[in-house]
Amino acid sequence: MADLSVNIAGVTFGNPLIAASGTFGFGREYQEFYPLSTLGGISCKGITLKERAGNPPPRIAETPAGILNAVGLQNPGVDHFMEKDLSWLKGQGTVVIANIAGNTPEEYCEMAEKLSDSSVDMIEMNISCPNVKHGGVQFGTSCESVGAITRAVREHCKKPLMVKLSPNVADIVSIAKAAEAEGADALSLINTLTGMRIDIETGRPIIRNNTGGLSGPAVFPVAVRMVWQVSSAVSIPVVGMGGISTWKDAVEMLMAGASALQIGTVLFSDPYAPVKIRQGLDEFLDKKGLRSVRELTGTVRPW
């Protein structure tokens, strides 16, 4: 039994597997399958300052080896989250990460301030939601805007701050560096890649939002590449995500440079995936004679 615990920005996770924001709600639906302490942490469904209704349906389409989604940040708002979900979540024996998105820097700051006085363990700043006009992605695609919003939120945030990066950019490394320079404690990547599907009978996009975010195994190699590039260029921890479906994917992402992992789309086909990934990872570490999962991070030997 290897040590699976990891430390990200001063927060200890029992194991490196974190439920990815937007795929796991606030955890209640999945505790039907297993105790939430099975996971090292939960990144909650993205919350905004005020309640959001989300996009009209259809919000999802299947693609080869992936899905496109455009939920549009449907959520009950930060106050509702803090009143109704947070204390229950904190009792589940896992790290609770609040994922926040906003229309303006002021909204991000206000949420960071509210959550700083709550029991959440960490804040994940979503500046990469591709599915709403003002869901943060306007802040996430240039070094200047990423730097500015990170600096602003950092001033109001007393919790460890993780910045979630968009892959829909020309140079993710310089954006990662901008976030690090302005005080991000950790980075998480990748959010979804913008995509589109069209129903050839009707000529209509399948998703009502026309475009959506691509996730699942289809994006995994892109995610591995970006995690490798970013983790090589920054000194803060990188939480890797994007299409991780098996324990082998988990090992690969850790080798690329991730210190922890987020698991999302695979839950839709297999709710038990985190259990299997954790077990497979544990066995792999034993087989390789490694005492801690931390020994895997960044061990890729590039040519």
Partner: protein
């Protein structure tokens, strides 16, 4: 896949966890068997569902491209309620396929699922043979509120919207009138099943090749006078028309909806359905967890 889960299930922690949940957390299922009424919605924690390997014990092509599967699983057969659905893993596909539960045989421990081949996923499912095992997540969603089965009920179904009505209609037996519509004679399914349950069946086909010609809504208008409640499932235009007719006559109407779905348990929020709340404001609920059955009055078309 099952192997790893068995490892998990065999562990002390997991066994205790499931035991604790089944004892303390909620009623065995969402119906109170004595009153046969749905228990109060308690914020989403009433459901009890899991993934299970289920053996396909019977398979039949009821009409071209429409398959009847019987899947054996004791736990599912014991807890599935009329109008709920099962989420079927399709090997190689990132999304499961939601299929409504058509009927339950508690003696044979089987769920009956009737589905139409519509795309690649259902095409793959249709290739399963008797004896094969499928990975099934069930029972899911809020089904029909059955209430007093001595009160006359009208069931209205169109096409592949007919199967979700059978298990509910069987509860009413002779007190059910069932109006079912199909494209043509070859597409007719389940007529005998409703008749065997004692229901009065009115068959429609779009081209008049069997039963009455024209849409189910024509018969619905006539039959609404003789019923106290309506249960409907089918294409959205049909549901909208039936809901309108029921509302004109102030007859309660429950409709089963479908939408492109993700997780199936209410976490991912993709299968949105627009609902008018009690205060008049509109918002989205979700077909997988809040539905698939909704009160027709609250649905915004």
């Amino acid at each position: 896949m099952a192997g790893i889960k068995n490892v998990l299930k065999g562990s002390h922690d997991y066994t205790l966890y499931k035991k604790r949940k089944s004892l303390v957390n909620r009623p065995q299922n969402m119906y109170n068997k004595k009153q046969n009424q749905r228990l109060a919605f308690d914020g989403g924690s009433y459901m009890k569902y899991d993934t299970q390997q289920c053996r396909l014990t019977y398979k039949e092509e009821l009409a071209p491209g429409v398959f009847d599967f019987r899947l054996q699983n004791q736990a599912f057969a014991a807890s599935a309620q009329p109008g709920q659905f099962a989420h079927l893993l399709v090997p190689g596909k990132p999304l499961r396929r939601p299929i409504s539960i058509c009927d339950v045989d508690q003696k044979a421990d089987t769920l009956r699922l009737v589905f139409e081949v519509r795309g690649e996923g259902t095409q793959i499912l249709a290739q399963y043979q008797v004896g094969d095992c499928l990975d099934v997540l069930a029972p899911l969603g809020r089904g029909f509120t059955i209430g007093d089965t001595s009160r006359r009920a009208l069931f209205v179904g169109g096409g592949i919207g007919v199967p979700p009505l059978l298990y509910a209609a069987k509860q009413f037996g002779v007190n059910a009138t069932v109006i079912i519509g199909f494209r043509n004679r070859d597409a007719v399914i389940l007529k005998k099943d409703f008749e065997q349950a004692g229901c009065r069946v009115i068959l429609h086909t779009d081209d008049g090749s069997a039963g009455r010609g024209g849409f189910v809504t024509e018969s619905c208008r006539e039959e609404l006078e003789n019923c106290e409640q309506v249960f409907a499932c089918g294409p959205a235009p049909m549901l909208k028309a039936v809901a309108g007719q029921a509302q004109e006559r102030c007859v309660p109407c429950q409709i089963s909806l479908e939408e492109r779905m993700g997780c199936g348990v209410g976490a991912c929020l993709v299968c949105a359905c627009k609902i008018r709340k009690a205060d008049g404001s509109e918002g989205y609920l979700h077909v997988c967890k809040d539905g698939p059955v909704f009160d027709a009055k609250e649905v915004v078309w």
